[in-house]
């Protein structure tokens, strides 16, 4: 089905902790420019897989390719430099930096980050900072965070921190965003705003999204394609409406069923 070419390819990936196989021969592809979701019951191996893709852990067997490069054994910052950006289940804002500074950290290739320039040519960093700050102002405005720009990120509310994470991610100019439960613990009004932002970023900036998400209504609303994981392997792929009819998927979500989970 993928019309566009795959930007992320996970092929035959397995990963064990001690004797426990968290990911077991898992394979799927994510099409460039899509908004996809990775769903599955607790313990399906989603978090492990996110860690493997993001470079937090090295892949034991199988391979992961991103934008034509094998990233299976790449460290996190190198994966990030290829344009793959992940977020975490809990907000990981730089608490002791202001909102504005949080946005100025991500941009790649900052000239002021070299020790030589910092010591001997500070104006280089200052000039670039001014450009970046102008962009950050725009981003903050679209995310409705401009009034908070000089507030310490640690003082923000839970929902504001989620918005900040997305705003901060935009500043990194990624090709691909891997969002680990972006909607966890935030109110429905904000969920609507967040999924609006995700769609806008895909449409305007061409960013591909992969969401690990429990809220299946959100998944159905914004995702083109869904990968279902259970017991460490890929169980099914397709559109959410098809998957709701798939008996195997329903069974994987033991007892409760898909709709109840979505409500919770």
């Amino acid at each position: 089905m993928p019309a566009a070419e795959a930007i992320l390819t996970v092929s035959h990936v397995s990963h064990s902790f001690g004797g426990f196989r968290a990911v077991d021969d898992c394979s799927f592809e994510i099409a460039a420019g899509s908004i996809s979701a990775l769903i599955g019951p607790n313990g399906a191996g989603k978090s492990t897989l996110v860690g493997l893709i993001g470079g937090a852990m090295r892949t034991q067997t199988g391979s992961i390719h991103f934008a034509g490069r094998n990233i299976s054994r790449m460290s996190a910052f190198k994966v990030a430099r290829l344009g793959l950006l992940r977020t975490y289940q809990v907000s990981r804002e730089f608490a002791g930096l202001t909102v504005m500074e949080n946005l100025l950290v991500p941009p790649p290739n900052q000239r002021g980050e070299s020790l030589f320039n910092a010591l001997f040519r500070p104006s280089l960093g200052r000039v670039q900072d001014r450009e970046l700050a102008d962009r950050a102002f725009e981003v903050l405005e679209t995310f409705g965070l401009l009034a908070l720009r000089d507030e310490y990120a640690g003082n923000l509310s839970g929902g504001e921190k989620r918005l900040l994470e997305l705003a901060r991610a935009v500043m990194a100019e990624p090709k691909f965003m891997l969002l680990d439960e972006p909607m966890a613990g935030i109110n429905p009004a904000l969920i609507a705003r967040l999924d609006g932002h995700i769609r806008r970023l895909r449409d305007d900036h061409g960013i591909t999204f992969l969401l690990v998400e429990h809220n299946l209504d959100v998944v159905e609303r914004i995702c083109d394609r869904v990968v279902v994981m259970a017991f460490g392997r890929t169980l099914a792929e397709g559109q959410m409406s098809e998957l709701r009819e798939n008996p195997e998927v329903v069974r994987a979500y033991l007892g409760g069923g898909l709709d109840e989970r979505a409500a919770g």
Binding site: F17, G18, G19, F20, A22, G45, S47, T48
Partner: protein, 291 residues
Amino acid sequence: MGLIIQSVGFGLVTASVLAVAAVGLTLQFGVTNYINFAYGTYLLLGGYLTWTLSAKAHLNFIVAALLACLLMGAIAVVIARTVMQHFVSRQAPLFYLLIVTFGLSLVISNVIEAIWGPGFQTYNIAVGSPLNLGPFSLTPNQLIIMGVAVAAMLAIHLMLTRTVLGKAMRAMSDNKDLAQVSGINTDQITMVTWFVTGCLAGLAGVALTVTTVSFGPASGSNFLFVIFAAVILGGIGKPYGAMLGALILGIITEVSAVLVSAAYKDDIAFVALIVVLLLRPQGLIASRGRA
């Protein structure tokens, strides 16, 4: 060759002292989730208390050592309750606790110096003539230390596997939040852990000060990082790993003292620590991650 085998015997003695200390440190770390940099001074304080009780108060040595261990347990609890708990309950960042224990080590070592003075102390215990046991030749004191250490390790093993307390400790070590929601009184277990590990520090301190000919206020500082090395070698927070780490390090350091030079004993332990950190930072015993 005989000398090397003999040094393995000494290695077992060193390993015994090290194991008691390392198990205490790693057990406390597993439960509280931060490293106690003042631990070396706990050891030293235990040694000094025993010395005072036996040499000054003229108590029977065994009684003095037991009392000192219990006192160290109590002191560890008091410090944890008054100082550490303040920061833990406010969810202070990890580095606060590390700096606080670091500062605590300076305070305690100077309290020791203020009370007992900067000079060296010696125990007035008969060394006894060495006994030949197979290839090893060890003094009765060394044998007693080994026996006590083995008994202590056995007691810890039984505590961890057979008692509710030990199971609660292991549960907290694995996942504190999960332990808490499972109905474990984590505050209480933490304090009991401080008591037990304080006692172990005291015991290790007694053993350390008895095995070294004389000891002074600075005696604990070098030993502290050998303890760290044993703990990291076995994997931080793992009591059985710490025992293994202690055994390996004890024998390596004593054998190398014969092969290279006794002056570089600590450096060998350090090299072992660095090699482990670079090659296998998670320790020899791999941890079971969560899915």
